[in-house]
Symmetry: C2
Subunit: 199 residues, 2 copies
DNA sequence: GGACGCATGTAATAGGTTACATGATTAC
DNA sequence: GTAATCATGTAACCTATTACATGCGTCC
């Protein structure tokens, strides 16, 4: 049996994020980097500079294998495929409880000291965030509309990749909608309070 | 004029988080560490090992000063107070747009590959998260009830620390409620799907 | 007697970002 | 010509966590 952690190579969350994507289809490091750059539909981000070394480490640990795809018009690429050991590791991780994540939200931090600036100064920043969240909500909703057509989603076949994507998307939409709503409330409060409440 | 960044000491977000707390009242490193350990009511976390050196750096940059409070029964402590330069720096940061934060949510990551395990295996993990978010929602709601008694909040005096705390708390509650709701939906779907949808 | 709270610090390591590096093809 | 996409990698740096370190007083 090939052991997973030889020297001191313990799995990182990034590693599991890569496995999460590779569990669905074989991908190259470049593909993975693209999916992890902007967190649309996916909930973990990383740059290629972090991904390439991680893939190498994971392959050394026996969780992945790769095949080189030679190309003439473009650079050659490595397509990574999960091994059985990879699936075992991912399933083992899934069964473990979720570790509480440290909350770090710059918008909230600014809101916390928004009393230091004038309402008319603060309001536009809040409005900008509102627009961002509303836009992302719209993007997610379009993706959801597509996914809802999928038979696995319609039939609530929960043990399918399509349903899992559907579940995360629902949370994404809820998150963006909620954030946008809160921004709207705060912006309106700041705007209406402006004038009658000086520094 | 005392310059803020002499060598290469640029402000970090942690620095602003510390200023955000110190803008309300002078505090010791220990006090700050306590407020930043668990993100109840506050939205930035850090350990004391990160806080103490940062305070030293910020004082060197002229944003803070400290006075030693001698104690006999307990160790002496340093109480940090913001300087005018500190307020200027914090306000300047506040006026800048919020940088988009990388989304990293382990629960979402697990949901994304929940199709790999049986519904009856996934459901308890989701239920555990639901309980956590519901509990935090309750904590925040109790804090909100208190804050709503505050005259600055009742009169919508937005340029007060009390109102700023109120605004962040509202978002906190909304966040926890939303997350809990989504967990409930997912858990129920997984539980009801169990049996009629095998691997 | 041992754990916990007060109170401050440093050192080692892990995790993540930015920048450096290369090189072909395609689109404006 | 200039930028963008494809494709992979390394190096330097910054941020954050874990662990090490000290020492007194109180509570169980």
């Amino acid at each position: 049996m090939t052991e997973l952690r030889e020297g001191k190579a313990v799995m990182t969350t990034l590693g599991y994020a890569l496995l999460a994507l590779l569990a669905r289809e074989p991908l190259t490091g470049y593909d993975l980097a693209q999916r992890m750059r902007r967190s649309t539909d996916f909930f973990w981000t990383a740059r290629h500079s972090q991904i390439y070394p991680e893939l190498t480490r994971m392959e050394a640990a026996g969780l992945l294998t790769h095949e080189v795809i030679r190309q003439t018009e473009r650079p050659d690429k490595k397509r990574y495929t999960m091994t059985e050991a990879g699936y075992v590791a991912l399933r083992a991780w899934l069964a473990q409880p979720v570790r509480p994540a440290p909350e770090r939200d710059e918008m909230m931090l600014k809101t916390f000291c928004s009393w230091l600036i004038e309402p008319w100064e603060a309001a536009p920043i809040v409005r900008a965030r509102e627009a961002e969240h509303t836009a992302r909500q719209a993007t997610y909703e379009a993706m959801l509309a597509d996914l809802e057509q999928h038979p696995d989603v319609r039939n609530r076949r929960v043990s399918t990749p399509a349903f899992s994507s559907y579940a995360t998307l629902r949370r994404g939409i809820q998150y963006e909608r909620g954030y946008a709503e809160w921004c709207r409330w705060l912006a309106e409060t700041l705007e209406s309070a402006d004038g009658q409440d000086g520094a």
